[in-house]
């Protein structure tokens, strides 16, 4: 039991680290041209990482349904708000 959960933690950490290192590539792309794709993927990828942290490190997998839904709701609404602010801001600045 303990070895299995330990492996799971290490795997989660490896996945998170790999995603982080891949953002090195994403962030090194040409910095000066506007790129909604980079921005949205950065935000979405960050939220994927956050959800993994919630479920694996913070043990939400074992939590009661209410807490699971609350954290998922937070992840989704943060995504909506951040992406919304980004695109709305871009639209307003061009208009």
């Amino acid at each position: 039991m303990s070895a299995a959960s330990d492996k799971r933690l290490i795997l989660a950490w490896l996945v998170l680290s790999a995603i982080t290192i891949s953002q090195l590539g994403l962030g090194s792309l040409d910095a000066l041209t506007p790129n909604a794709a980079i921005a949205s993927s950065a935000i979405v990828i960050a939220l994927v990482k956050v959800r993994i942290i919630f479920r694996e490190f913070m043990e939400i997998r074992h939590a009661p349904a209410l807490l699971c839904r609350l954290t998922d709701l937070w992840v989704v609404s943060t995504g909506v708000i951040l992406l919304g602010s980004y695109f709305l801001g871009m639209a307003l600045s061009k208009g």
Binding site: M1, S2, S5, D6, L9, I10, A12, W13, L16, S17, T20, I21, Q23, L24, L26, G27, S28, L29, A31, L32, T33, P34, N35, I38, A39, A42, I43, I45, A46, L47, K49, V50, I53, F54, E56, F57, M58, E59, I60, R61, H62, A63, P64, A65, L67, L70, T71, W74, S77, T78, I81, L82, S85, Y86, L88, G89, M90, L92, S93
Partner: protein, 193 residues
């Protein structure tokens, strides 16, 4: 809530640590989301300035900082699981590793700030740097509080008279929050174009 023989197969559901800490964590996260939103909206009003300024940040340090906090979260999660199985020495070791990685982040952040300041980019240089220093500083403050929280956790683990699983889990919940808040800050300041 100090039972060590809890079912870890996921069959019995439990709230990790005090529900109160979760309330705090979610509320603080909401406040941070407001800060992020303000940043993104301000950013869109002056894209060129922000993009130019972003090139002065070192992406490698950002990635390094993120990896350090992820490792620290990993060790904290292992600490909680070890404590649950009453392997308190392992738990204590992991808690101390968490503190050490936290300290590495601390040093790295101070180094990064010093470098930026030496290059002439201070809090009042321009709007981007206002947000950069603000977000990283408020996060840093949470990190400092995290050291206090970890100290409480280490104290719990050291004495057989204490070792409340709930307290250790509560401390872990707080520490992980510092980690995921940084994940978001990193994405918004260093990666988003």
């Amino acid at each position: 809530m100090t039972t060590a023989a809890r079912d870890t197969a996921g069959r019995s559901r439990f709230v990790p640590g005090q529900p109160d800490m979760w309330a705090f964590v979610l509320f603080e996260s909401l406040v941070f989301t407001v800060y992020f939103t303000v940043y993104l909206v301000h950013r869109s009003q002056d894209l060129d300035l922000y993009r130019q300024s972003q090139t002065h940040l070192d992406l490698h340090i950002g990635v390094f900082n993120t990896l350090v906090l992820l490792v620290s979260s990993g060790s904290m999660a292992r600490c909680v699981q070890a404590a649950r199985e009453c392997a308190y020495r392992t738990a204590l070791t992991n808690a101390i590793w968490t503190l050490l990685f936290g300290f590495v982040f601390f040093v790295s952040k101070v180094f990064e700030w010093t470098t930026e300041i030496e290059r002439g980019f201070t809090f009042s240089t321009n709007e981007f740097f206002q947000f950069y220093y603000f977000l990283t500083a408020i996060h840093f403050l949470h990190l400092l509080i995290g050291f206090v929280v970890l100290a409480v956790g280490v104290r719990e683990l050291r004495s057989p008279a204490r070792r409340s699983q709930e307290t250790i889990e509560t401390c872990a919940t707080y520490w992980h929050t510092i980690d995921y808040l940084w994940v978001l800050i990193f994405a918004l300041l260093y990666v988003v174009r």
